[in-house]
Symmetry: C2
């Protein structure tokens, strides 16, 4: 069994990006600049954005955190987005979700200039991805592809089962694994809340990507020998014995499933750390205008 | 076994659209206007565009056929597209494919204003579809959804297997059948040229949508009892005994598979006629500005 070590790989990627930034500086070029907009005071959101800002510092990017109050109107947020779209110094930006309920998330995400959409959530970028064109890939799916690629996990002709059809993980992952190229060329089954015979389906899978958010959902008897396991579930389970008052766990019964798996991601330290690394990668691609028309 | 009669249903849809157009006229409103651009003299393309123009006449739409020579440059075609984008009298338009090889198809399709993209091929529309937003759905997948809906074929929790990952049928169909709502909520497996154990997969399917283009590919021993069969394959097989010199056949061994199926589309007369009906439907939606921001 090989552990897909997202902590190590994400550090490798950050080191590579740091080198790129050094070269840019040495050439007198502007370094990549990421902005993050956060509306309100949600604790988890502040933590996530804080991590993103620190990751920018780590690789030498400029970063800007835009904080807006919980009572921000949709128009005010749209104005801010137009300002960031028009600001040539900002290469890419993200709108931290969730947004307060007075704001239509879909309308807000549609307002982001696709050339600066480093989260890959804009329909134009999502459509390009689904139509095999080059574009920003949402950070978590991008991180999973990167893990599979760097560990040389064979995906061609394999049966990949994706659990969960969210817009940010399951849906894009199901599309990406079925595209031509590597990683890809899998036969892909997308399962979700309406799926009936989930055990029967997972037990036929060569690769399982679980993004359900139910701790310990995937058990050893649901998988075959030598399965590849990508666990995207991140759930905080309350635990008074921990300093933080909780521990983090995935969708997979790691102890037992890992005995059958050929490759498996741990939680924490698997897919999680990859997400921020790929956001940085997307920001670098934005700086280089990789996908601009 | 119930025949999914695309010829009948497409006529019903055309009748419904005709009624809508009559109402528009009675209200003194402009009727929908579809333009079709054809570059070169490909016989099949001319036939298809001819059918689309005749279908417009049938329902009372205005139509314009724009013919350009085989030696048209990409710039000339892009100019024509910008002209159609800017022409308020044109509600929707299509670029008949394939295009001559001096023209980059992707760049051309990207130039179409998404609000007039009644083929649903623009990445922005494709992305909206994949993100569960309202938009133009490509005509063939839209026609398949319509058939399933009008015959009340249960799709929720069913295992749908799609054969072929083309941008115009397989890929969008795999996305649509897994979306929430009806028809949808299926567990979807997308298979393609790299799929290894296709027989094993099709034999587990409740619904099979085949868009492969290989006559007689899907045989009775590959499907289970009561399967629902949607045959999107349309292949011309040379046959001197026919007046046209060929006959049309699908991917499915109809004679034997139909004995096991609960529902099945014939070829011809199944999915084929639905495609033009749904192009008309999209043009009506464009006229009504259904998806305009």
């Amino acid at each position: 069994m090989v552990l897909l070590d997202g902590k190590k790989i994400s550090n490798d990627i950050k080191d590579e990006i740091t080198e790129e930034v050094k070269k840019m500086k040495a050439n007198g070029e502007k370094v990549p600049h990421l902005a993050a907009v956060i509306v309100g005071n949600d604790g988890a959101s502040l933590t996530y954005v804080g991590s993103k800002v620190r990751a920018c510092e780590r690789v030498g990017f400029e970063s800007t955190m835009v904080r807006m109050s919980n009572t921000t109107s949709e128009v005010e947020l749209l104005d801010k987005i137009h300002e960031l779209n028009d600001n040539d110094d900002i290469d890419g930006f993200i709108i931290q979700l969730p947004l307060p309920k007075q704001i239509d998330t879909q309308r807000v995400l549609m307002a982001v200039n696709p050339d600066k959409d480093v989260d890959g959530f804009h329909p134009t970028n999502f459509g390009k991805m689904a139509l095999d064109m080059s574009t920003f890939i949402p950070a978590t799916p991008f991180g999973i592809l990167e893990l599979l690629e760097r560990y040389g996990v064979e995906t061609r002709g394999k049966h990949t089962v994706v659990i969960g059809r969210s817009h940010i993980v399951g849906r894009p992952m199901s599309i990406l694994m079925g595209r031509k190229g590597f990683p890809g060329n899998s036969t892909v089954t997308l399962t979700h809340s309406q799926t009936k015979n989930i055990n029967q389906i997972t037990s036929q899978a060569d690769i399982i990507i679980s993004a359900l958010g139910v701790p310990g959902f995937l058990k050893a008897e649901m998988v075959k020998d030598d399965v590849v396991i990508i666990d995207v579930g991140i759930t905080r389970v309350p635990d008074e014995t921990k300093t933080k008052g909780y521990y983090i766990t995935g969708d997979v019964d790691f102890e037992n499933v890992s005995k059958k798996a050929s490759y498996i991601t741990p939680v924490p330290g698997g897919v999680g750390p990859m997400t921020i690394a790929m956001l940085l990668k997307n920001t670098l691609l934005a700086r280089e205008n990789k996908f601009r028309k």
